[in-house]
């Protein structure tokens, strides 16, 4: 018997709702905005569930979530520099001082959250997709719509920045 689309949606897509919402939380940086974006993305996924190939809907769903978040952020105004960023510009400061390995390792949740929030969107999304969702470079490349080589360089730069942010912090006043 052929599964009707909603059954397929419930079986294949809905189990990844938390992953979708988690990605939206990291990209939108706001609970309310994340809920709105997740709802819109899930409804899009419901309507287009036929286009989801294979048995693992997660990368496909996360791509929809990611695009929806970008649309929301762009609509809100790219003037904040959330969406577009100059990769060269964002690496200029990274070589300044060598961060402290022990400090990085000991980072607490609050420090990690602030460091991630400080990352430009293009860096933040590759970190979340890799470290939290455990996706392959190829899957991330498809979701972020960039070549695999760009995923690799963005990840490297994002991690350089995180190390700078975490490895230089001295309590709460270590910023800046």
């Amino acid at each position: 018997m052929i599964q009707s689309p909603p059954t397929r949606f419930e079986a294949l897509v809905l189990p990844h709702l938390d992953a979708a919402y988690t990605l939206a939380r990291y990209l939108m940086r706001d609970t309310h905005d994340a809920e709105d974006a997740t709802q819109e993305a899930m409804l899009k996924a419901l309507r287009n569930v036929d286009q989801c190939r294979g048995d693992d809907a997660r990368p496909w769903l996360l791509a929809i979530v990611r695009n929806t978040c970008h649309t929301h952020l762009r609509r809100r105004g790219a003037g904040r520099g959330d969406v577009s960023f100059d990769e060269d510009l964002h690496t200029a400061e990274d070589d300044a001082r060598r961060p402290d390995t022990a400090l990085i390792r000991a980072a607490d949740a609050e420090a990690v959250r602030r460091a991630l929030d400080a990352l430009p969107l293009g860096f933040r999304e590759v970190v979340v997709l890799r470290e939290l969702q455990g996706l392959s470079y190829r899957e991330i490349a498809e979701i972020a719509e960039v070549p695999v080589g760009t995923v690799m360089s963005r990840l490297a730069r994002a991690r350089d920045r995180l190390e700078q942010l975490l490895g230089r912090m001295r309590g709460k006043e270590g910023w800046g």
């Binding site: 649309t71 390995t101 959250r113 690799m152 490297a156």
Partner: protein, 261 residues
């Protein structure tokens, strides 16, 4: 391999993404380069910290339930839409749903068959919300929006500003339902968009059900003294009903002679 070569490959090496032929060279370099070794250790420390401290979030229960409901409604909505394509209100509903992003309506009618049509219309509904063509006239001033329709339509649509009630006017645009030009007024509610479609009540247009839900979008429909209304939004039904009530009250107030009661 020199340090630069290794640094551009280190992340791929740690992520298990490096080509097999290069792994050995990277690892060999680590043996005798303290700087690269230190970088590798920072990367491992960072990975440990991230995996340990990055929370995963649980989606709100209400959202999950809403999605289950939408998923179960979808096949029924699809059947109904297919069955009603031959009758009048199916077309009216389809047209309203689409907010008739003009071209896609033409496309939709020519492709008039079941799933494709439903899919296309719902898709263009969402597109009009996130796309650029939400409004032809962008203004929260009803004295800007209302005159804009002069010469565009053979009727003057009532335009209200409910900003004080939390439903600010965002603008308006022209739409087509079939061959008929109609008014589309856009109101906001927090970050939600409400589209109000209206045309003269005596225009001889098909009628529809008073309330419907399609894929999580809610539609309300009624006939006022002078105009036929369709209201479409992803807003919850309670708030959408409240908004519809504001429109009905405002129409009644406008129609009543100032001296009566």
């Amino acid at each position: 391999m020199n340090c630069d070569d290794v640094r551009t490959r280190l992340d791929a090496r740690l992520d298990g993404e490096l080509a097999a032929g290069e792994i050995e060279a990277v690892d060999a370099h680590m043996e005798h380069c303290a700087d690269c070794k230190a970088l590798q250790e920072r990367r491992i420390a960072l990975h440990d910290a991230l995996v340990r401290e990055m929370p995963r979030f649980a989606a709100p229960d209400a959202l999950r339930q809403e999605l289950v409901r939408s998923a179960r409604e979808a096949p029924k909505a699809h059947e109904r839409a297919t069955r009603r394509m031959s009758s009048g209100w199916g077309l009216a509903l389809a047209a309203s749903l689409a907010i008739v992003a003009v071209g896609s309506w033409q496309l939709a009618t020519t492709r008039a068959n079941g799933e494709m049509l439903t899919q296309t219309l719902l898709e263009s509904h969402v597109r009009s919300l996130i796309g650029e063509h939400l409004t032809d006239v962008v203004s929260s001033d009803l004295h800007t929006v209302k005159p804009w329709f002069n010469g565009q339509l053979d009727f003057s649509p009532p335009v209200y500003d409910f900003a004080g009630r939390g439903y600010p006017l965002l603008g308006g645009r022209l739409e087509y339902v079939g061959e008929r030009k109609v008014a589309a007024l856009v109101y906001g509610r927090r970050k939600h968009v409400i589209n109000v479609f209206l045309w003269p009540a005596d225009a001889g247009m098909p009628q529809g059900p008073p309330a419907a839900t399609r894929h999580g979008y809610h539609l309300l429909h009624w006939n006022g003294p002078d105009f036929t209304y369709w209201v479409v939004s992803d807003l919850g039904t309670a708030e959408l009903q409240e908004f519809a009530g504001l429109l009905k009250d405002a129409d009644l107030a406008a129609a009543a002679p100032p001296t009566s009661q």
